[in-house]
């Protein structure tokens, strides 16, 4: 049984259907990537999965329906979204942002250890722990957003465009971090425009175009698909 399943999910803004009849699975321990052009409905689909937008269809997590649950209840069940806009607490210190990441955990005993692990993973955050989040650079913000999400000890991490607006060197570091999440047992649903980097990191991939899944398959097969290479992956 998949960790997360979307079954025939459609999302509409007023009368415009942004996502149409999408079904998708994330198996436990997998990194699944959704690629597609700007405006394909990727972000909309993630926001609806998280409960921030209403949807038609079913969202099933660990075998139970999430429909009708509030965002906060989904967080408590172990789903964490790092949105495209990061949504950091700009006026608060880096350390406070991280601590708040663990807010949904009832058991507070492991919080300090988790904080140390995040600092180990991102030493830059340790250096800047007293600085306000709003003063960080773009790459540091993404690290903080990732670190804050990891503080919640999620079972499923949904990452929306984690490489957006970052320098190539930092993009590589972010994707290395995402790949290393497998060892932690965190499943990842990765939404990306940077299709090559996303597929190189992922186990499985879906291609979304104008709100519909037009292709899916193992990441290694997608990355060698001539049609996709022409459309998204560039002529390498």
């Amino acid at each position: 049984m998949a960790l997360l399943s979307l079954r025939n999910v459609s999302v509409s803004y007023d009368k415009v259907e942004a996502v149409r009849d999408v079904s998708l699975d994330v198996e436990a321990g997998q990194i699944v990537s959704v690629i597609g052009p700007n405006g394909a409905g990727k972000t909309t689909m993630m926001l609806a999965t998280m409960g921030l937008l209403p949807l038609a269809g079913e969202v099933i997590f660990e075998g139970s329906r999430l429909n009708g649950l509030e965002v906060e209840e989904r967080v408590e069940r172990g789903i964490c979204l790092v949105p495209e806009r990061r949504e950091l607490f700009a006026d608060m210190s880096v350390a406070d942002n991280l601590i708040l990441g663990s807010y949904s955990l009832k058991d507070r005993s492991g919080v300090d250890a988790a904080l140390q692990q995040v600092y180990q993973r991102f030493p830059r955050l340790l250096e800047r722990r007293r600085q306000k989040a709003g003063t960080l650079s773009g790459g540091e913000r993404q690290m903080l957003a990732l670190g804050r999400a990891l503080m919640a000890k999620p079972k499923l991490l949904i990452l929306d465009e984690p490489s957006l607006g970052l320098a190539p060197l930092i993009v590589r570091e972010i994707f290395r971090t995402i790949a290393s999440l497998r060892e932690l047992g965190v499943s990842v649903l990765l939404v990306e425009q940077n299709a090559r980097a996303a597929l190189e990191t992922a186990d499985y991939g879906y291609v979304l175009e104008t709100g519909e899944v037009i292709q899916e398959g193992s990441a290694s097969s997608l990355i060698h698909d001539p049609k996709l290479i022409a459309a998204y992956l560039g002529g390498h």
Binding site: E72, E76, R86, L88, F89, D96, Y103
Partner: protein, 347 residues
């Protein structure tokens, strides 16, 4: 004006300002967390004073009736909205919070009353009785329109104030009250006579501001409140419920307003409608702080108090005019120094 008089006026002004600080800080707290400009805050302070006065004379305060009515209304509203959104399983918990807890507080006061409790106990009882009012009002009035614009929330808040004044008259009656002094002691500070009550006001204001600072800086709940104020979406994604943050903000704010009511009651005669001016002057202080900065708000509130004190010496009839006219240059100054406040400052 001699320097002696100036010193007396200054001390008097600082004490008045210290009272405004408590209300103003609560106003800012609630505004940042819920975006509601909670005008009825001064009424909460006045109701606390009236409650304490009733307890002193051994009468059952009108607050009991008010809290019970609000608790029933809030419970109905909560159950209705839970039932409609298919989350009926939360109803027992909601009833425990919105109905059982306020009823228990009211019952506790009713049972403690014949025992003629001592002054500290009476103060605690008055605060306990007043604290549920704002969270219940929040549930009844503001929760259904939580996503409305700041302006709409302000207008509703204004209407709520007038409704509360009416309820105040109904539950407390038209008589003014003055409670027993908290202390009779007096001191000489640098040759100026300072009575204990004044000192107590200033100390209480400093202590409660300090406690609030510790709460925000060092507790997870306090940080979650700040997080809600800074970025609601970000907070929700971490599992922080804005509605719960709002309730906590209202409880903490009510405590501050309640304490200010208790401090002011032995000095001024309080009527059911005395809260409005208190709330409005605290509001001026909060505006000086830009409705965002706590230290700025505290300085603003003390400034208003001192100005009021000197204004009432120069021209007692015009003191309110002077204080509120102050709002105009302050608003002009604020609109010049701070560009417009953006909703999201991310990216």
């Amino acid at each position: 004006m001699t320097s002696d008089i100036a010193a007396i006026l200054a001390i008097d002004g600082i004490a008045t300002g210290a009272i405004y600080v408590l209300v103003a800080v609560g106003t800012v707290l609630i505004f940042t967390v819920t975006r509601v400009m909670f005008i009825p805050f001064g009424d909460i302070a006045a109701f606390t004073a009236l409650t304490l006065a009733a307890l002193e004379t051994g009468h059952l305060p009108g607050t009991v009736g008010l809290v019970l009515v609000l608790a029933v209304l809030a419970s109905l509203a909560e159950c209705w909205s839970l039932g409609r959104s298919g989350r009926g399983r939360h109803i027992p918990k909601a009833l425990a919070f919105y109905l059982l807890l306020p009823v228990l507080v009211a019952l506790f006061v009713r049972l403690a009353l014949p025992l003629a409790p001592s002054m500290p106990v009476r103060i605690v009882l008055a605060l306990l009785l007043v604290m549920p009012i704002s969270p219940l009002l929040d549930r009844i009035v503001f929760r259904p329109i939580a996503d409305a614009s700041v302006l709409l929330l302000l207008i509703v808040s204004m209407a709520l104030h007038f409704a509360l004044v009416g309820l105040g008259l109904l539950f407390f009656g038209p008589e003014g009250v003055r409670t027993q002094p908290l202390t009779d002691s007096a001191f000489e500070v640098l040759g100026v006579h300072v009575n204990g009550q004044t000192l107590l006001i200033v100390i209480a204001s400093i202590v409660f501001s300090g406690l609030l600072y510790l709460f925000f800086g060092f507790t997870l709940t306090g940080k979650a409140l700040r997080a809600t104020a800074v970025n609601r979406t970000g907070a929700r994604l971490m599992g922080i419920r804005p509605a719960r943050s709002g309730t906590i903000a209202y409880l903490v704010g009510s405590l501050m307003a309640g304490v200010s009511g208790i401090l002011v009651a032995p000095v001024n005669t309080i009527f059911y409608d005395s809260g409005f001016l208190l709330g409005l002057k605290a509001f001026v202080g909060a505006i000086i702080g830009g409705l965002a900065s706590y230290p700025g708000t505290a300085i603003g509130a003390v400034f208003v108090g001192v100005l009021e004190s000197f204004a009432s010496f120069e021209s007692s009839a015009l003191k309110e005019v002077i204080v509120f006219s102050l709002l105009i240059p302050i608003l002009i100054w604020r609109s010049i120094v701070s560009p417009h406040i953006e909703e999201e400052v991310e990216e």
